[in-house]
Subunit: 261 residues, 2 copies
């Protein structure tokens, strides 16, 4: 096993605890600190004392999901959108949900960057239609990204931040049948193929998200329709596929993973 | 943390060791053993003694990658394809690579099931063009699965098995610049967003796959073009993006994960 190493990073932000726990990206002595926008590393003892991380842990431990959501809503979550591809044209920064991009003067969103946090994008206004998990990174062309050929989505019309738990604390139960009945499986990791892990079906009929935010997908390898399941929405209970979202037509689910913040 | 629990499964096959190590899917006392094709659980001590698993471990430990590949090539890898959607029409089973589906009497492959192993699918004959990781599960419609709108691929023309390492043993180094230069990061996990893990760029310029098979993707969340990187091809060394595949146009890489077998 590789030793648990310190990732790149200098901001004592809310992401850091998750990054440290997850991270095996290694800053090396021969690294060029000025290259490709990488930042100098932060000593672990400093990072662990980041106030937002402590607050997050304490809130989760002592006050439960509601407090965690409150803390998360106070933490920086930033998304920058443009109305042309490759980060050109009209630009706007968001730190909270957008119910309808047209109300912000956008006919369409053609490119965007997730600067911090994890976000959910939606096909229609009011967080309806196809769902897309948007994790930190650059999305230069909607056409290259938005939906499969058979499910193509012309535009992203609304979006909102997602409240994630620390990866290690994420837990979900999947059930064979609706209403939390039948055979079940307890998840706390990422599963690019549920059948490969022993789930004897290409469907999951109900979910109980105990902590964290998850994305499940129709096909193995996180492909096809995506459904975002969050512990602090629906009280974490999704007892029938009609509750996963307005676009869901079947209970076909073959891959599931935690959403990264 | 959830306890490490026994996954479903009865076959003492090559997948079992990986599944046991990875798995937290839990067989529960109230589970219906007859439901949804799930099978009765196997005691861990029996599963650990599965000859193929032992052979695989020994081959990897003592003989290196070549022996491992030999062992893997002797292990069952099965893919079933149909020329119509939803598993209809002409059907054929494969346990080894297919250089050109037309030579097997298929004008096109419209649906398929991966019964065991992990496979790579390709846009063109001879393992050329866009690459698709195919993990265990069902793929009922190519149109719903094959490529993004802007990169749509009409058909899958060739495919071959992928030799994967055990997830825990998978290791890769990513480099900022071509020819294994510049800042580097050592990976042994799945990374839905490299930027969120502290990689200060939306690109990776060269890779060294020490063990296992990996898939890296253009966008966060395993989206966009996929590039399959294997420790036993190119000697695991991919020093420029032109070596990742015939369809690669940029070094944009924002998510990376191990391929599951």
């Amino acid at each position: 096993m590789l030793r648990e190493a310190l990732p790149f990073g200098s901001t004592l932000g809310p992401l850091l605890l998750t990054r440290l726990r997850l991270g095996t990206l290694q800053d090396t002595p021969d690294a060029d600190a000025g290259g490709l926008g990488a930042e100098p590393a932060v000593p672990e003892e400093v990072a662990e004392k980041a106030p937002s991380s402590q607050l997050r842990q304490l809130a989760h431990r002592h006050c439960g999901v509601s407090a965690l959501r409150c803390v998360l809503s106070c933490m920086p979550q930033q998304m920058v959108v443009w109305d042309e591809a490759f980060f050109q044209g009209r630009k706007k920064e968001f730190t909270a949900e957008c119910y309808d991009v047209r109300e912000c003067g956008f006919q369409t969103v053609r490119s965007f960057k997730i600067e911090s946090g994890a976000w959910a994008g939606f096909e229609h206004v009011g967080f309806q239609g196809q769902q897309f998990v948007l994790e930190r990174g650059e999305y230069p062309r909607w056409e290259a990204w938005g939906g499969r050929h058979a499910y193509h989505v012309e535009r992203m019309s609304s979006f909102r931040p997602i409240a994630c738990a620390n990866h290690r604390d994420s837990k979900m139960t999947v059930f064979e049948w609706e209403n939390f009945l039948g055979r079940k499986g307890e998840l706390s990791d990422d599963y690019p193929s549920l059948p490969a892990m022993g789930w004897g079906s290409s469907a999951v009929s109900s979910f109980r998200a105990h902590s964290g935010a998850w994305v499940c997908s129709q096909f193995p390898g996180y492909r096809g329709f995506q459904y975002i399941l969050e512990c602090d929405r629906h009280a974490g209970e999704y007892k029938h596929f009609r509750e996963w979202g307005s676009h869901v037509q079947t209970s076909q689910v073959q891959s599931i993973r935690r959403i990264q913040q």
